[in-house]
């Protein structure tokens, strides 16, 4: 898809930690409406890349352009407000809030009223219907009143996606959405990603190459902080440099 609209672009993105170069001159173009996967062996700099894109880490050099706007210096919260919302490798829920409250926190931000310390939290009930719809969408409708900490791992990830969806992001960054999951959960999450990607762009870091092969339109392979190859799964998986980086352990 060379001509489709680019939603996110990085130019020469680099990150150095005291002399160790974690990300080196990465040029990435994420096309609008696609599922773009970032893969690579452990320590390739995938998560660091994510942290740079969402400004959880400041880049050493390079620029990040989102929807034609330079966001290299924006704050993480501002980036989220622009519609670029991330998930985390370790599940990011609010453990002692209920499942419903977790989603509501995101809705509350989107729709204002979150500074009102003098109003009763009953006003938040206005968000319950939308929150329930989102929980329905990820199959958590029966868990609305359960504290998030009591959910299984797979369900926590689903909750995370529901919470992220509540912000109606244009670009969703998923950091290893299926890491540490059993097979059933993996399939459920894969279906979920496919479903949510209908209306938006998804950029994900993923280790499960089966998922990557079946879901993504474009794959970027990172190794030692550099882009090794980019393209469709077919082209990338035949690339000798990629096979070498993975030591032949890729597709099964």
């Amino acid at each position: 898809m060379p001509d489709s609209d680019v939603i996110l672009e990085t130019r020469g993105l680099s990150k150095e930690f005291r002399g160790f170069v974690a990300v080196k001159g990465v040029d990435l173009k994420v096309a609008r409406g696609t599922i773009h996967a970032l893969i690579g062996p452990n320590g390739a700099g995938k998560t660091t890349c994510f942290n740079l894109l969402t400004r959880f880490l400041p880049a050493t050099s390079g620029t990040i352009v989102y929807r034609g706007e330079d966001i290299t210096r924006a704050s993480p919260a501002e980036i989220a407000r622009k519609g670029l919302v991330r998930s985390f490798q370790i599940s990011a829920v609010f453990p002692h809030l209920t499942v419903l409250e977790n989603v509501r926190i995101a809705l509350q931000r989107k729709r204002g009223s979150s500074f009102d310390f003098w109003r009763s939290d009953r006003v938040l009930r206005a968000y319950h219907q939308r929150a329930r719809e989102l929980l329905d969408a990820v199959g958590l409708q029966d868990f609305a009143q359960v504290p998030a900490i009591e959910l299984s791992y797979g369900r926590k990830r689903a909750l995370e996606i529901a919470t992220t969806l509540a912000l109606e992001p244009e670009l969703m960054l998923l950091d290893e959405p299926t890491a540490g999951m059993g097979n059933e959960d993996v399939e459920r999450i894969a279906r979920l990603i496919q479903q949510v990607a209908k209306d938006r762009t998804v950029l994900m870091v993923e280790h499960n190459l089966g998922i990557v092969a079946s879901l993504s339109h474009t794959i970027t392979v990172l190794a030692r902080g550099e882009v090794l190859a980019e393209g469709s799964y077919q082209s990338v998986s035949k690339n000798s440099a990629v096979i070498a980086a993975y030591l032949g352990t890729e597709h099964g």
Binding site: T54, F56, S75, P76, A77, E78, A80, R81, V85, R86, S87, F88, A92, V93, F94, P95, H96, L97, L100, E101, R104, I105, A106, Q108, R109, K110, S113, S114, F115, D116, F117, W118, R119, S120, D121, V123, L124, R125, H128, Q129, R132, Q141, A144, Q145, T163, T164, L167
Partner: protein
């Protein structure tokens, strides 16, 4: 219409504090007829102080080690306004709380840039600076403090020199402060604060500018701690270095932990408990501190969640 089923009740019930609130009000109203009123007033001042502190530690996850700064500064400000300027007590109290809130804003702006132990150390350092300032400054009376603070006539007709009038004014101030905190915790703002405590990076990734929330919580907490300090100055007709000493900052942490961190009623119980200890163990002299320490260690080991934390777990409802 999924809301029509049992769900709304389930969403309401855990939050309803009607019964414990009624018990609290009843206890506050009856207490001075059972126990020595000055003791109860002292306990209520510290209870408000602890509740204000708990807003930060219990609901925003911020450990301030310098809350005596706000308690003590307001104590001085209130005492000074009453004694030197001859203001009416209600204005003195508002002035004290305002001074504390402004200091809270200044301290907060510096401290919330850091997290965890660094946050605690910055607050401690600023509070220590204020302690030495109070020691040297003219208007604080140095080692002597500000003594003989007139209680005055509140609103022009409530004669605070009468013990029971003073008591019910203190009770009203306490209940007002508690109501503000209760509402804050159970507000849309309180939800965000809890989310920040639970998982700050996630809150940021959802677009929350977390420092703004922390700062508001800090200023509210400082202001109410100041209200408590000012009230204490009127009750004891004294503002002294004890109020700004780091010991006071430490005590409020103990009260909150013993009562139950992040529980709405716990800090009150913790404050009453600590005040009672100090009062009834007074004959032990300097052993009071040792006893307090031992009791604290015991509490932390035996019931880590504090009195109300454990109670809330037994009753399976938030308190």
């Amino acid at each position: 219409m999924s809301e029509a089923s049992a769900a709304p009740a389930a969403e309401l019930a855990p939050r309803s504090h009607r019964a414990p609130l009624a018990i609290l009000v009843a206890l506050v109203l009856v207490a001075p007829w059972v126990v020595y009123p000055v003791f109860v007033m002292k306990a209520l001042c510290f209870a408000l102080f602890a509740c204000a502190f708990n807003l930060l530690l219990g609901y925003a996850g911020l450990l301030s080690f310098g809350h005596a700064l706000f308690f003590g500064a307001a104590s001085y400000a209130t005492a000074h306004a009453a004694l030197e300027w001859g203001w009416r007590p209600e204005l003195c109290l508002v002035f004290g709380a305002a001074v504390a809130a402004v200091l809270g804003l200044a301290t907060g702006l510096v401290a919330i840039r850091r997290q965890g132990i660094y946050f605690a150390m910055i607050t401690l350092a600023l509070a220590q600076m204020f302690f030495f300032f109070s020691l040297r400054a003219e208007f604080t009376g140095g080692e002597n403090g500000i003594q003989g603070v007139p209680r005055g006539m509140m609103f022009g007709f409530l004669d605070l020199s009468r013990t029971y009038v003073m008591y019910y004014v203190v009770a009203a101030i306490f209940l007002l402060g508690f109501a503000i905190l209760h509402r804050t915790v159970h507000s849309p703002f309180g939800q965000v604060l809890t989310a920040i405590r639970e998982n700050e990076p996630r809150a940021i990734s959802l677009g929350y500018k977390v420092n703004q929330y922390k700062l508001i919580a800090f200023v509210l907490s400082a202001g109410l701690a100041g209200l408590a300090g000012g009230t204490k100055a009127l009750v004891f007709q004294l503002a002294s270095l004890t109020d700004v000493h780091w010991n006071t900052s430490g005590e409020v942490i103990l009260m909150t932990l013993i009562g139950g961190l992040g529980t709405i009623f716990g800090p009150i119980a913790g404050a009453v408990f600590m005040a009672a200890l100090e009062n009834y163990l007074a004959q032990l002299g300097s052993w009071v501190t040792v006893t307090e320490g031992a009791i604290f260690v015991f509490c932390v080991i035996a019931f880590r969640r504090g009195m109300f934390g454990e109670l809330s777990r037994l009753l399976k409802r938030p308190l």
